[in-house]
């Protein structure tokens, strides 16, 4: 006790120590081992040896660039769709929700309470070949009579959009909700039209939410393999599918690790850009 009184600067470090030690050991050190494994060569039979096998990277990239760019493409489209759906929805809740705000917000996060795999399997039911959705799309001619939705890139993108939409909606809601309504009132007092008030006041003030939501949606979407596996075919395989099968089925650890490092590097660059834009304190809070 008296020791801590004399050295009170130690207290925060003592509080941090156990948690940060755990994160160092099981988050930071594994990233080192991921890099280490990505430069190993070998098979399960003869074992794996570290020999600076840089060709893991060149081969991983040349063999799987289709899956890699498909991941970025699907994740990009899904992020834009999620933004287009979430913005009006959260705007509606934040500005018109009144006393029902919390309840409506609960509806947005409700999908999170259904196990990820189960809600993706539910989309299998919904988009099934003879299902209601496909039949109505065929009726209006959006899908040819012998066409299908399941096992196409449309289904995979739809699944990703749905599964990661709350990641977009929550930060958007927070930034819209925080906007001081009297600012918009002031803009209208100064004879701004509703559209202009939205474009010059509301939209700029909600940009932090847009940026946060975009990253929080895009990042997990780019690494996802569940939607491509359950709603697509090997033709829709994403980089996540390759990493998963190489680690868990083919045991080609070197290339699998190299692909993971490439994915992580792309995402770290995104996070660093984001840090520059907003600052760490606001990101984590």
């Amino acid at each position: 006790m008296s020791f801590l009184h004399r050295h009170s600067w130690l207290i925060p470090y003592l509080l941090l120590a156990p948690g940060l030690a755990f994160l160092l050991l099981f988050f930071v050190v594994p990233l080192y081992y991921l890099g280490y494994t990505s430069l190993q060569e070998g098979t399960v039979q003869v074992g794996y040896t570290f020999n600076w096998a840089w060709d893991n990277y060149s081969k991983a990239f040349s063999d799987y660039q289709a899956q890699f760019f498909r991941s970025l493409q699907y994740a990009g489209i899904a992020t834009i769709l999620a933004l287009l759906i979430s913005y009006p929805l959260t705007y509606w809740i934040a500005f018109r929700g009144g006393r029902w705000k919390n309840l409506l917000l609960l509806c947005i996060i409700a999908p999170f309470f259904v196990t990820y795999l189960i809600r993706t399997l539910a989309w299998q039911n919904i988009l099934a070949d003879d299902g209601f959705v496909v039949n109505s799309l065929q009726l209006v001619g959006l899908v040819p009579d012998d066409g299908r939705v399941l096992a196409t890139s449309t289904a995979v993108i739809a699944g990703i959009t749905y599964n990661f939409l709350p990641f977009m909606a929550l930060p958007l809601y927070v930034s819209l909700e925080q906007i001081d309504k009297s600012l918009i009132e002031a803009a209208k007092d100064l004879y701004a039209s509703s559209t202009k008030a939205f474009l010059r006041v509301t939209l700029p003030l909600s940009l932090p939410g847009v940026i946060a939501g975009t990253l929080l949606t895009f990042i997990p979407a780019a690494g996802d393999f569940i939607n491509a596996e359950l709603l697509g075919t090997p033709n829709q395989a994403m980089v996540g599918n390759v990493i998963q099968s190489k680690f868990l089925e083919i045991t080609d650890y070197g290339q699998a690790a190299a692909l993971s490092v490439i994915l992580m590097a792309v995402i770290l660059v995104l996070i660093l850009v984001y840090t520059r834009l907003l600052g760490t304190e606001r990101m984590a809070g």
Binding site: P12, P30, L89, C107, Y162, K181, S194, M264, I271
Partner: protein, 283 residues
């Protein structure tokens, strides 16, 4: 306070503008309702198909109503074991992650120290790193150390990804904490420990509970990271995955519905508490 939507009296608003505003307001409402319906649709499907009586192995098309799956939800082989494993993992991971995460949150909110930025960054990166990278890197650690994959490696993985979520949740509640209450207790002769247990802890308990609930639901739902570090151990999501190719039994929908029901009840309770605590007119 007046709401911004109402036209201010000193502006003259033509009927046409008013009609346009009416249409626009309701377009937004219509869109909102449709978007919520879209979000709810798969949940409804999960619940409805838990009462389906599938003809074959595939629970895809509606065949008829039955409550069989609800009377014996743990019927299919290995399903009960998988659910029990998930619960054990979630309990241990939640307790450890909540303790570690709360301590970090306390340090971050109440003290200024060197290395704050680095700590924030270390908390933030696991939140945004794709799960597949977290799972794969942990696997390479275990592979290189020659660790045996099983329930303990799953628990370690779950603690790892839950800590950051607990920190963020607890910290959000701590920021609004009025430290004068603690000072008052100290002025009245309580020492640090008594103050912490009698004043601080009860006041931050809701935040800790929220963090713990979040950790528990993340743990019970996790598939990606678990699939990399499970070895031959099967959790509930892993069971669902393994049956996805050869037909998921309807009992999975029953358990999915149960998990959903418990989570929604807890959240509704929380929302209702907030309504009761908010003084009238302060919303």
């Amino acid at each position: 306070m007046t709401t911004a939507a109402e036209p201010l009296p000193r502006r003259r608003v033509s009927p046409l503008t008013r009609a346009w505003a009416f249409v626009r307001r309701h377009t937004l409402t219509l869109f909102g309702v449709l978007a919520l319906a879209y979000l709810m649709l798969p949940i409804v499907v999960v619940i409805v198909f838990s009462f389906n009586d599938p003809a074959g192995r595939y629970n895809y098309t509606w065949e008829g109503f039955t409550t069989t799956h609800w009377t014996n939800p743990f019927g299919p082989a290995f399903l009960g074991d998988a659910v029990w494993t998930s619960i054990k993992v979630a309990i241990v991971a939640t307790i450890v992650a909540t303790v570690l995460g709360t301590l970090i949150a306390l340090a971050l909110v109440r003290y200024h120290f060197r290395g704050r930025g680095a700590t924030n960054f270390l908390i933030f990166v696991p939140l945004t790193a794709p799960e597949i990278v977290l799972g794969a890197s942990l696997l390479t650690l275990f592979l290189n150390l020659g660790a045996v994959l099983g329930i303990w490696t799953i628990i370690i993985a779950h603690i790892m990804f839950c800590i950051s979520f607990v920190v963020v949740t607890v910290r959000a509640r701590l920021v609004g904490f009025d430290r004068h209450v603690e000072e008052a207790a100290m002025d009245l002769g309580a020492n640090e420990y008594v103050t912490f247990y009698r004043i601080t802890l009860p006041l931050i308990a809701p935040g800790i509970l929220a963090g713990a609930l979040l950790a528990f639901s993340l743990s019970i739902d996790d598939f990606v990271i678990t699939s990399f570090n499970s070895g031959t151990t099967t959790t509930f999501p892993l069971f669902v995955w393994s049956t996805a190719q050869r037909g998921v039994p309807a009992e999975v929908n029953v358990i999915g519905t149960m998990i959903f029901g418990v989570a929604i009840l807890l959240m509704l309770g929380n929302v209702l508490l907030q309504y009761r605590r908010t003084p009238k007119g302060a919303a």
